[in-house]
């Protein structure tokens, strides 16, 4: 009998699609069928969708939660139906409702990006203004990246962080960056919770005549997390300093491997963190293969 795996996705955007593609590729290798449902950012919908996967009696459910806490109900039903649940990309706080977690270590990812920024800024004296573009206020990965980033910046006691919300929306990021630079022309560095916002930052800096490449004395440090083509291009041409790229291929491979084991009723470990990898202008060429957004 063919093995069917339910894939409950929170929302479709670039990195999620890349991640799902990795999952699908891994499933195809093993001849598993994937039933994908997309909640479009709505927790209620996702709850309903997981239940519809349960009523289809899939063999396992891979879920990236819209919200970590609100699909408990549906997942408990999955437990009752003895369908193994693997959370991917977003960890779930309630250990009882899932068998395994595979995903990035967002605090660490934010920390890596912050660490590089600290290295670039440590020679500056006086107050250093740093702009932080937050993700959405209700996204755990966004919150964790911010947490890690701010931890890293504690190494710079004279840094002051200005945080603005963007809801992961580039247009909002654009306006927020522009206004922040109006209010604080002396901003020295920008951290983007997702590197897809880096082109927007570039637009603002070009407009202000501040878009100097890495190495220029007036260069504004730009780092981010994700690993998309936007970040890759920006780093390649020297606008951005470096990006933490998530290892999506491994997340994909690992989650299907775990699913396979769970379906075969084998014991697995609970937590599988796939660390991100930091690249910068110096090692970008060498690491191209690891950057999922870089293309072939």
């Amino acid at each position: 009998k063919e093995i069917r795996i339910g894939l409950a996705v929170d929302q479709l955007f670039e990195s999620r699609v890349a991640e799902n593609n990795a999952i699908k590729a891994a499933a195809k290798k093993r001849g598993f069928q994937i039933i994908e449902v997309v909640a479009d950012g709505d927790a209620q919908t996702q709850n309903a969708q997981i239940q519809s996967l349960i009523s289809q009696r899939v063999d396992a459910i891979l879920v990236c939660a819209v919200d970590q806490n609100t699909i408990n109900g549906a997942l408990m039903r999955a437990q009752r139906a003895r369908i193994p649940v693997i959370a991917y990309d977003r960890k779930l706080p309630n250990e009882r409702v899932y068998q395994a977690y595979v995903g990035p270590d967002s605090v660490q990812d934010g920390f890596l990006a912050g660490q590089h920024m600290v290295k670039q800024l440590k020679d500056h004296s006086g107050e250093i203004l740093v702009l932080e573009l937050l993700g959405a206020l209700n996204d755990q990965n966004g919150i964790d990246r911010s947490k890690g980033f701010q931890q890293a910046l504690q190494a710079l006691p004279n840094a002051k962080i200005i945080s603005v919300p963007t809801d992961w929306d580039s247009a909002k990021a654009l306006a927020a960056t522009q206004n922040a630079f109006q209010a604080n022309p002396s901003i020295k560095a920008v951290f983007a919770a997702t590197d897809t916002q880096i082109p927007s930052i570039e637009t603002v800096l070009i407009g202000l005549g501040k878009a100097h490449p890495v190495g220029h004395p007036k260069h504004i440090v730009v780092t981010g997390v994700n690993g998309s083509n936007d970040g890759y291009q920006a780093t390649k041409k020297g606008f951005a300093d470096g990006i933490v790229v998530m290892n999506l291929d491994q997340i994909g491979e690992k989650s299907i491997a775990l699913a396979e084991k769970l379906i075969k009723k084998q014991k697995v470990e609970k937590n599988h963190v796939v660390a991100g990898y930091f690249y910068h202008s110096g090692n970008i060429v060498k690491n191209k293969d690891k950057i999922w957004g870089a293309g072939q």
Binding site: A43, Q44, S55, G73
Partner: protein, 313 residues
């Protein structure tokens, strides 16, 4: 009996749509009429139904309440926080209802007494509610929901989820108020012609206030039910529901311009959207195509139903 049915058909453009969709999905997917699936449809639309009842009231008076979806979030968050601290369910219910009522009163005062435009006013209160929900919860779901609430979310009575029964009870009570009390009659008259309502000596300000208050309270109830359904209070739970709520009410056949509509219509509108999204999920249609099919079906279904409706009249 036959006449009553044809009367219902005439009045509810969404009813034939619902029937067609149910036949379609049950032939295409063996899982559709599955008990688990039916249960899931019922449970997951309780919140939407309650909020849609509130929105229907506001539409009947010719207004709009853009804040209702976010009132769900803020009252859920507040109730979640209170329950997290006290573990007292009753206190949680009271909090949810009173937070909803507070927003309803604010809307009602601004719109009914100061005469502000409902659209912008409720958009403003929506933003305030959202801001409060997010700052109180710091963006993440409020932890510590008491077990009885979670159990309530799972509980079934004769195969029907309890939260669905709550939403039906709300529908019945408000339906009774609208159809059988002078208050209900007056808000519809107000929506039909506000000036004539004034010339009839109706107290239009209080009527308007009462309607927004009611929709706020219903938002609060929906907020509490969302905790039971999802297991936690979530600050963003309502945000995505606004268009669904408005869509369901209008699809049911209640006019946004006031003076026409009913809660039965809204029930069918909610049901159509619920079955549609569920069925498309069951068929395993890719997300992008689901969007397109959903849009097309809503449009085609509505226009055919309207046509049938007119031909019969």
């Amino acid at each position: 009996m036959k006449e009553a049915l044809s009367n219902q058909l005439k009045q509810n453009p969404a009813m034939p749509m619902l029937a067609v969709l149910m036949i379609l999905f049950s032939t295409l997917s063996p899982y559709f009429f599955d008990a688990i699936n039916m249960e899931s449809i019922a449970a997951n639309n309780a919140v939407i139904l309650i909020a849609a009842v509130g929105m229907t009231l506001v539409f009947l008076t010719g207004g709009i309440d853009l804040s209702i979806a976010t009132v769900i979030s803020v009252s859920a968050v507040m109730a979640g926080v209170i329950m997290g601290h006290t573990d007292n369910v009753l206190l949680g219910v009271l909090t949810a209802v009173s937070v909803g009522a507070a927003f309803g009163l604010l809307n009602g005062f601004l719109i009914g007494f100061l005469g502000l435009s409902p659209f912008i006013t409720t958009m403003g209160t929506q933003l305030i509610a959202r801001g409060i929900a997010f700052s109180v919860s710091e963006g993440i779901a409020v932890q510590g929901t008491p077990e009885p609430v979670i159990d309530f979310g799972f509980a079934l009575v004769m195969g029907i989820p309890k939260i669905t029964l709550v939403s039906f009870a709300v529908l019945l009570i408000v339906g009774f108020l609208v159809a059988l009390t002078s208050w209900g009659r007056y808000i519809i008259l107000l929506g039909s012609n506000p000036l004539a309502a004034r010339y009839c000596g109706l107290n239009t300000r209080w009527l308007e206030l009462s309607v927004y208050l009611a929709s706020g309270i219903l938002g609060g109830i929906a907020g509490f039910i969302s905790i039971a359904n999802l297991g936690n209070a979530l600050p963003g739970v309502g945000d995505t529901l606004l268009l669904i709520i408005i869509g369901a009410v209008v699809l049911g056949g209640t006019s946004m311009n006031g003076g026409e509509g009913s809660l039965t219509k809204t029930l069918f509108g909610v049901a159509v959207l619920a079955v549609l999204t569920n069925g498309l999920n069951l068929l395993g249609i890719p997300f992008y195509d689901q969007l397109m099919i959903q849009g097309a079906l809503i449009f085609i279904g509505y226009s055919i139903a309207m046509r049938l409706n007119q031909a019969k009249r």
